[in-house]
Every structure is written in C-alpha cells, then in structure tokens.
C-alpha cells in the first residue's frame, strides 16, 4: 500500500540519524583530542549535559517541572562516593550503574508524590525532596561527611585497566562514552510509541487518557528513568572529581539545570547538550571578565531570553544556518523549534 509505506517513512523521519547529528558527535569526540588541556571543564560540560538530558526527559517530553532534580544527582553522587570510599564496588562502571539504580529507586518512590498536583505543587514537592535529602546528608554526617563532604575518595581504574589521571583525560572519554550510550538509549525511547505517548500527555493529559494511555503509569516510568539518568550524572561527578559534598543537592544545581535546558531548548534531546555548552561557556566568559559579578550577566541573559521569547530566540539563532542551508541546499528553511513547555 503506497500510503502505508509513505506513512511508515514519515513516521520514522524523526528517529532516523542525520548527517548533522553524526557531525555533532564527531565534533564532540574531536574536542577530546583537540583540547587536551581542557578536559576538566569539558567533562564538567558532559556531566551537565547528561544531567540536563535527564531533566529534558521529564520536562521536555512529559511536561513535569522540577526544581529538585539535584536530589537524584546527589544520591548518585553520594552512592558512587560511598561505594568507592569503602571499597564496596571498586570497578567504576559497575559502581556507576549501581549508583544510577540507587537514584532510580528514589525516583520511583518519589514519583508517586510528584505526579500529583499542579505545576507549582510539583515545583515545591521536588524542591522539598532535594532540600530534605540535603538536610539528611548534613544530619548524618558520620556517613556523608556533613558539610565537608566525603573526603579521600580514590577511584580505581576503569575495568581495572584505565586509571583516572590528573588532567581528566580518562574521565573525559569515560564520561563521553557514558553520555553517548545513554543518549542512544534516550533517543530510542523518545522515538518509540512510549516516547510519543509522553509528548501526548504533556500536550493534553485529558485527551491522552481518552485514547487509552495510562497517564500515571507512563509518568512514573519516565520519572524513574530520568532519576536513573540523573543518578548516573551524579555518580560521574563523584568519579571524575573524587569529590562528593552537600552542594550536590543544592537548589542552585537544580536551578542551573533548568537554565541549561531552557537555553538549549527542550524536547529534542540535544537541548541539554547544547545548553550545557552554552551555559558553561557563558559562565566561564562572565566569570573571567568579572569573577565577582558574573551572576548579574547570567541573570541578564535569562531575563532577555524570556522577554524576547525562547521560541523567537531560537529562530534567530537558527537564522544564519537557515540561510546557509537555503543557499547551499536549496531546501526549505528552518521554521521553528518545538517549544511548548509546561
């Protein structure tokens, strides 16, 4: 049937790999070789990107707002830290997965609280959970080291072969590999019927239920998965920095994350990656220019982004590539980025 194969073709349009995407990842990989002196900050960007991708899964796809995503990051971070510190699991990759699972368990448990209520309640409940964990971590300082954090973490080599080095080279490629694998998984998930149903729930939960989608179950599933991602990001943080301190739970971490995702755009997975690059670059730029007052400029950027309108801004950003594509390839120009958030 002609129309049917046509439909199949178009339905797969989004999930097919494109040259641009391949190029994107090649460039990221190339960065690892081109800038051997900037591994730490690039690793930082990768972790942030993974963390942002986690938020994108719930915010960009399912429309769940969260001001407390650091809760899962923190659990992952402490889990990885404790595993390494006490030598429970010495192999980083295995520890990473276990830490992610720990966060995932928390995600599943708290998802029941989060799927209830309106946006504001969600913001506050998620924030509350993160703050609560921070308070707990401070309270049980005999386990967590309290305000001073876990001291003396020493990471064993990855697969027993590749040691973490001071300049963060191993950490960078390790993080990159993890990010890429999890990206592949996320990409697969969001282009599945499950992923599509999340977007439907975000767009219109009433109608989603009316075509037979078990809304709550889907939301719980994605929230749990996102918690896993955030936990992995947190565990990567601990493993690559050998630090786990209370600020992994901090409100600022969750807030920054939101900014990253919004700068990059939600609902297409690359938003977190691009946002992380731009955000860190901006932060780096501003804090180099003015180490004391960089927050002012970050704030200004945010205000401008919102005032101008995220959609319009993305259109402007895409204006030049648009023009190039039009000239070179003679194809239809990019119109807009999907943006309709909770």
């Amino acid at each position: 049937m002609n129309a049917s194969s046509d439909v199949g073709y178009h339905a797969q349009r989004q999930s097919r790999w494109h040259y641009g995407e391949v190029a994107f990842w090649l460039i990221v990989l190339a960065c690892g070789f081109a800038f051997p002196t900037r591994y730490l900050i690039m690793t930082d960007i990768l972790r942030l990107a993974l963390f942002a991708m986690s938020l994108d899964l719930i915010l960009g796809y399912a429309g769940i707002v969260s001001l407390g995503h650091a809760a899962f990051f923190g659990v992952g971070a402490y889990a990885a830290g404790l595993l390494a510190l006490h030598g429970i699991i010495n192999e980083p990759v295995l520890a990473l997965v276990v830490a992610g699972l720990a966060a995932m368990v928390l995600g599943f448990a708290t998802s029941f609280l989060v799927i209830r209520g309106v946006d504001l309640t969600r913001l506050m409940v998620t924030l509350g959970i993160a703050l609560l964990l921070e308070a707990l971590a401070e309270r049980f300082s005999n386990i967590t080291g309290g305000t001073d954090g876990l001291q003396g973490i020493e990471m064993q080599p990855i697969f027993g072969q590749i040691p973490f080095d001071m300049f963060g080279k191993a950490g960078f490629f390790y993080s990159l590999a993890v990010l890429f694998l999890l990206f592949l998984l996320a990409r697969r998930v969001v282009h599945s019927p499950f992923g599509l149903s999340l977007r439907a729930i975000k767009n219109n939960p009433l109608r989603a239920a009316a075509i037979g989608i078990p809304v709550n179950r889907r939301l719980i599933a994605i929230y749990t998965l996102a918690a896993f991602y955030a936990g992995i990001a947190g565990a990567l943080f601990t493993q690559t920095t050998a630090i786990a301190s209370l600020d992994v739970f901090a409100f600022e971490r969750s807030a920054d994350l939101m900014l990253v995702l919004v700068i990059g755009g939600t609902g297409y997975l690359y938003g977190g990656l691009i946002g992380a690059v731009i955000f860190r670059m901006l932060q780096e730029l501003f804090s180099t220019i003015t180490p004391q007052y960089w927050q002012f400029w970050i704030g200004l950027v945010l205000v401008v982004i919102v005032l101008v309108g995220r959609q319009r801004l993305h259109r402007w950003v895409l204006y030049v590539p648009n023009l190039v594509i039009k000239q070179v390839a003679g194809r239809r120009a990019i119109v807009a980025v999907p943006e309709s958030d909770a």
Binding site: N203, G212, S340
Partner: protein
C-alpha cells in the same frame, strides 16, 4: 437487539444540586442515538460519567452488559468506549500522523513499547494511512496540529476517537464552531461512520440531530423527559414546551 451502552438509575449531585436524576438510558447496538436538551440539562455531566471523568453518586454504567462504573478513563477506552470533545482536545505540537499513530499503537497494545521505533510496524502504518485517508488528513499529516485549520482539527478530533476502534462512540457536538465552508466535510464523515459503531450524539443543532439520529433522548434538568424515534419526539408536546416554553415543566 443487544444493548451497547446502558445506564441504570444514574445519580450525580454537585453540592446540593442534583445534576443527573435517576437516569436510565439504553442505547442499542449500532444505533444512531442523539441526546438533546436545553442548556443546563446536564448532558455534559452525563458524558463525563459515561467516560469516567466523573464518578456517579449512585447507579451503574454498563458497556455491552459489563459493569464499567468503577473503571478509570483509559480502561474504558480499551474496552471500546471512545469520545470526541465539544472543544477540541488535541495535541498542539504533534502532527496528525503522530496523533493517530499514537492512538492506533495504544489500541494495539504497543503504547508502552519503549524500544521499537514509531513507523516500524506495518499493521500500525496501514491503519494510520487508512484513517488519514478517510478523514481527509493525508495532505496535512506532517503539519503541527496547532497550525491546521479548524475544520481539519475537528476531523482529526473525530479520527482520533475512531482510531481507538470503538464499539461505542460518543460524539459531543462534532460540528460546533466549524465554519460553514468546512461543515460539509464533518457531516459527511459523521454520516459515513461504520454501521457497527454505536453512536451517541450530543448536539444542539437540530438539523444535524434529525438528519442523523434514528433515536432521540431528551434530557431536562438532569432527568430523562422522553425518548423515541425522531418523529415522535418532534411531536411530543412536552418537548415542545421545553424548547418553546409554553409551560414550566416540572420533573
């Protein structure tokens, strides 16, 4: 005749207000049944109870003889009860292709499938293509819903409900708000619904009601006033009174 959808002594109160009063309806298999009544008669409340959005205070709802009173919305859908909304309830960011694809996938039980990509199941694709074709949406299948003309959105609204292969379909004012020029498409599509689907139409537009329905129930103040074939309802003096206001009708 088998009964597709039935309510038994349905009661619903909001605060002290009885909005559904002892309502017992029987809708036969394959019927084209219309539910009419003046403003505030409680039609929407009845729909919401049928679909599971609201819970009745008492009374039962039976779908093909099975009690569905306590089932959540999505489970009723899976049992074959679908609805359209008076005000479009679509996914603004999704395309008609995705919207229908999703509905079909959910029905076939692939909705929770998180590994297989969309568009890789031929049975799903076939069905999507068929629906897009029937509802005149093939040409716009890759447009974002929010950008479609109102009439196309209305068609999509009905197509989504049909994609669930319902055995009973509740149509809530399908032609509401559609410009005159696009109205014809909607009426044609509604008229061409397969006979095996039982349709309950909630409608103000009497032209549409009388051209479509083979049976009409009149709801007043939450209670059933009368029921019968169109001719009989049209002649009913009580109905006349409700609509024209000869006398106040006490129920």
């Amino acid at each position: 005749m088998t009964i597709a959808l039935e309510t038994q002594n349905l009661e619903k109160t909001f605060g002290g207000l009885r909005v559904t009063r002892d309502l017992s309806l029987k809708i036969e298999q394959g019927a084209r049944h219309a539910l009419i009544g003046p403003n505030g008669a409680g039609k929407t409340t009845v729909i919401n109870q049928l679909t599971g959005v609201l819970k009745p205070n008492s009374g039962r709802i039976l779908l093909e003889g099975q009690d569905i009173t306590d089932l959540p919305v999505h489970k009723r859908v899976l049992r074959g009860l679908s609805r359209t909304f008076q005000i479009n309830q679509l996914y603004p960011d999704l395309t008609p292709l995705e919207t229908i694809g999703l509905a079909v996938s959910e029905r076939l039980g692939h909705g929770g499938d998180w590994w297989r990509r969309m568009g890789t199941r031929n049975d799903v694709n076939d069905e999507i293509a068929d629906l897009l074709n029937r509802f005149h949406l093939l040409d716009v299948m890759n447009e974002q819903t929010v950008t479609l003309p109102y009439g196309k959105q209305r068609l999509l609204e009905i197509a989504v409900a049909i994609a669930g292969k319902p055995r009973v379909l509740l149509l809530d004012e399908p032609a509401a708000g559609v410009p005159e020029s696009e109205r014809h498409d909607i009426l044609a599509v509604v008229g061409a619904l397969p006979r095996e689907v039982t349709v309950l139409l909630i409608e103000h537009d009497m032209d549409l009601v009388f051209s479509f329905a083979d049976r009409i129930s009149v709801l007043v103040s939450g209670a059933l006033l009368t029921e019968g074939p169109p001719g009989q309802v049209a002649r009913d003096p009580q109905v006349k009174a409700v609509y024209l206001g000869e006398e106040a009708v006490n129920v």
